[in-house]
Symmetry: C2
Subunit: 231 residues, 2 copies
DNA sequence: TCCGTGCTTAGTGTATACACTATCGGGGAC
DNA sequence: GTCCCCGATAGTGTATACACTAAGCACGGA
């Protein structure tokens, strides 16, 4: 793989997984040394991450991993609602019904107990997103949704899903997929709206609970993370 | 200004204005020499343009200015509809009414005869967009809309606006601004929908007319544009 | 005559050196 | 004692050199 691409993917994964927490300072020479690339491709990677909104240039000399606060989550779900409702409508008009009928069946049969079952469920959602992207046939929309999903990964990590919510989420996805398969654009859009409303409510509740519990792991000692060479 | 920023803005303007037409090949060394920067900042600029979708890497060695065809315009207006309707709703809920009431007045008074009046009208639309962005208070949405507007500049250039359409467009904007000022989210969204429907219809009609007329300026001789040093 | 192989060259990917700037700390002056 | 200024240092911005890859062309063999 190209060095710049490698640096970009690695940093993005580390930010999304929380290995590089919000506020961590990314110094070019340090990160370049750590990732085994030189400064030029690393700068390219940083530039892409800035464009993504995952890192920001706080001052001309210090680039940090961006934070995700309640207001960001609110904003993220506002645009997500706009994009996914539009995508659902377009998919309902254009999609191959059989594909989404099959996905609806899979959502109906999904069992969500155990860790590997959870992974399988997330893979199913990823396949659903892929099918949606393919069905809407709109590169601009797909790219915008991709950007939203990039940020969503971090939000999901903040808010641990509970089993009941996952069960409900599967049922909601099943309805959306069925509506698309049936070519019912209104139902697909409204079911998407409902799904996102419930998802946001669950995330905010989960966040409230975490904060009430003292939020033990949410704020690691940033001083130790400023220099990632020892990681 | 930083060299990379300068290269990015210059190239973007040239693409948007048509000085660099669709299909023009951008060779790093040539463009770097032409713009008076070295390859490193030029590569940064190209990377950003690729991310914007204004240029594409056709093969590992040749990056070209992307084309805008009918299907792109369709796709662009699909996502634009989604984003601007959402923005209109949010603005209606959050905006300072006085700002949009004033804008509505200006749209009501806009006179569209003559070249400089047209420029003034486009500046008014730009101020409306700014006010909208400020009112929605959503960086993700603003960024996505910014990307859409980047492409829209080229579409506008393809389709020359006629005076009647501009008159109607002003009236439509006036209604949208008034609805936002009044806090009427439904009306703002529906008026936006109508406006975008009319704008798209007008553009497609204009495109049809241009193609029927033989489209004299639309396809310059690309061979002469491959090497932009003599431009 | 056609196909395959090797060479040449154009062009990009990466590393590194150099220059410029901002920030922080210390010292001097008021 | 405090504030301001100057210098040192860290870190980024840019240029350039080198390496690697892919494509085109020519030459030789079948």
């Amino acid at each position: 793989m190209r060095a710049g691409e490698h640096a970009y993917r690695t940093l993005r994964n580390e930010i999304q997984s929380g290995a590089l927490p919000a506020g961590a300072v990314l110094v070019e020479v340090e990160q370049a040394a750590r990732l085994g690339v030189s400064r030029t491709p690393l700068r390219e990677a940083l530039g892409r991450l800035v464009a993504d909104g995952l890192v920001a240039q706080q001052s001309p000399r210090v680039t940090v991993v961006t934070d995700v606060d309640r207001d960001d989550i609110r904003a993220l779900f506002e645009i997500r609602r706009a994009l996914e409702e539009a995508a659902a409508r377009l998919a309902a008009a254009r999609a191959d019904g059989a594909v989404f009928a099959a996905l609806a069946d899979e959502f109906g049969e999904a069992h969500l107990a155990g860790g590997e079952a959870l992974d399988a469920y997330y893979r199913l959602i990823a396949r659903f997103d892929e099918a949606l992207d393919a069905a809407v046939e709109n590169d601009y929309l797909t790219a915008a949704l991709g950007n939203v999903r990039t940020h969503l990964v971090r939000v999901r990590r903040l808010a641990r899903d509970n089993p009941e919510r996952l069960e409900a989420s599967a049922a909601e996805h099943r309805l959306i997929a069925a509506a698309i398969a049936a070519g019912d654009a209104d139902l697909a859009a409204h079911a998407t709206h409902v799904h996102l409303h419930n998802a946001l409510a669950s995330i905010l509740r989960s966040l409230d609970a975490a904060e009430a519990a003292g939020d033990p792991a949410a704020r690691a000692d940033l001083a130790t993370l400023t220099h990632q060479g020892a990681a």
